[in-house]
Symmetry: C2
Subunit: 327 residues, 2 copies
């Protein structure tokens, strides 16, 4: 089985690649070849499986055709610019997050001859916009309040239509906010949800810019990889024509996050959280989803790797910190 | 006020143009100029108001810029190929129904300097796909089962995002099936809903290809024009960021349509309906919306011209048949 990962240098792309190479298989099929694409060169993993590294701009009309020329059986499409960048750079957002996807599915279609790869597209809960019900159900409508959410929603529609027409075998999964996101603090408005866990565990201070009653929807990186693999292997016939799906996750308040950190790592770690209210971030976050009822995804076999937010913290300590933190 | 009508040669476009020229104004503003565009030349109406006729292909990347160069204040965007054609001609559907709209909104954006026209986009109930609740509410999700519905849904998202970014002042309204559609029978799967009224009133036989318990969602051409004019004049601030809206209509069964025809025109007319079940059409129609709860549109002041299906038939007799029919 040949697997193509688009956006392979990103956090989820790297973790997915590692997991696939560790398993050596996807579902029942041995992996015989992988192609890893991103706009910056993805690191070449040490493996006996043949790996092609492709550095290319997903917004370039010529990028897609050579990527699918080798007829990959499964395509994980994680290529995107993030919400804040898509909002600040209107044209760039549409070029990468919308046109890029269209080039991809049209390149798949152009191959013809019955070529119909599994396409797993990472969508986002940004397809939803406030005001929300207490829990966003599987049939709630899409009213994105960002260009990013608009672009994700459009790609969901395109992939569903191309699937319906028999041109590919697509599924779009909407990931929760990934927590704890490894790496260094970034400027994303959502960054603090991870910063307030990751930085104190590493011995650093972290700023909490919102009040503790802010509620949000999370899943661990390990869950995200699990969702992608399930989406890449499951029988999609069970989904019928409705190929877009909100993934399971965990709804917690910031206060509950901090209480979990206290339980897992102790008061000394929690004391590194510095409260400094930022009205801009508070405003942005107030328009974000807080909770979901993901009955359909659960019924279709999508499960999280964690049962509590304590688990999310423990997964971070295990997967990123070698089991240790700065007490 | 300068008004641009895209798709002006179509049935709704013609009726809208006639109404605007008859009124000489849109809301509080005198109409000082109209531009009528379609792929076939729209008829030049007899009027003292200056009219520009433009014949152009909406899918051509160069079409949009000259149309908006004169900075029309209100744009009624009715340009589209219909559902059946978009399904049969995949590329053509995406080019006209999606790319064409993008060219338009990008051409508006390119003008800049604060130019922010009202854009009224005719969307469709085809953005919804079965299975449905008994009544489709204002927050039901979009799961189109046709490329046409996919393209309409995408345009809704684009217009909402461009509006949110302050690049235009857009609204998308989803018209019910227009009944009674004037003209000759066409091959659209929905054609029979109008054929079984229009043809018998003209003294001709009409084939009914489905059973009488088939329920569907209708509005008269007069209502459609009224919706467009309200959308072109109302204060859109009241809609917030949610600029997409299902229009009011009437849910009736085919049996109720026929009973109304009997009341309005008599048994002799009804006798011209020939029952001849078509399993293909029956299958297509089974996936269509049957009923809506359009509370939001009603609250925002959208109203139909009819209260009963009898009214829909009477409007056809008045507006299309000069008050007479073949008894």
């Amino acid at each position: 089985m040949h697997i193509l990962v688009l956006g392979a240098a990103g956090m989820v792309g790297r973790k997915l690649t590692e997991k696939l190479l560790r398993d050596g298989r996807l579902g029942k099929h041995d992996i015989t070849r992988m192609t890893l694409q991103d706009v910056v060169a993805p690191a070449k993993p040490a493996t006996s499986i043949p790996i092609d590294i492709v550095t290319s701009d997903f917004a370039d009309p010529g990028t897609a055709a050579p990527l699918v020329a080798g007829k990959p059986d499964v395509i994980f499409h994680l290529a995107a610019i993030v919400s804040g960048e898509a909002e600040a750079e209107f044209d760039k957002g549409y070029r990468i997050n919308l046109d890029g996807t269209r080039y991809l599915i049209d390149a798949i279609r152009a191959i013809g001859g019955g070529y119909k790869p599994r396409l797993v597209f990472t969508s986002s809960i940004a397809v939803f916009g406030a005001p929300f019900p207490d829990k966003i159900g599987d049939e709630f409508f899409h009213t994105p309040l960002t260009s990013y959410g608009t672009q994700k929603s459009i790609c969901e529609l395109l992939i569903a239509d191309y699937t319906r027409k028999g041109l590919l075998d697509g599924i779009s999964i909407r990931l929760p906010t990934i927590c704890v996101r490894p790496g260094t603090p970034n400027k994303a408005a959502s960054g603090f949800f991870s910063n307030i866990i990751r930085e104190p565990l590493a011995g650093h201070e972290a700023i909490l810019p919102v009040s503790e009653d802010v509620r949000h929807w999370h899943a661990s990186p390990r869950s995200a990889v699990g969702f992608l693999i399930h989406a890449g292997t499951m029988d999609l016939q069970a989904m019928g024509a409705r190929r877009n799906l909100s993934m399971p996750g965990m709804s917690v308040t910031v206060g509950e996050q901090i209480a979990a950190l206290d339980r897992v790592a102790g008061k000394g770690v929690v004391a590194r959280i510095v409260r400094k209210t930022d009205p801009v971030i508070t405003g942005i976050v107030s328009g974000w989803p807080r909770d979901f009822a993901t009955d359909r995804a659960l019924k279709l076999g999508f499960t999280t790797a964690e049962k509590t937010f304590d688990d999310i913290i423990r997964i971070h300590i295990e997967d990123e910190l070698g089991g240790k933190f700065v007490a």
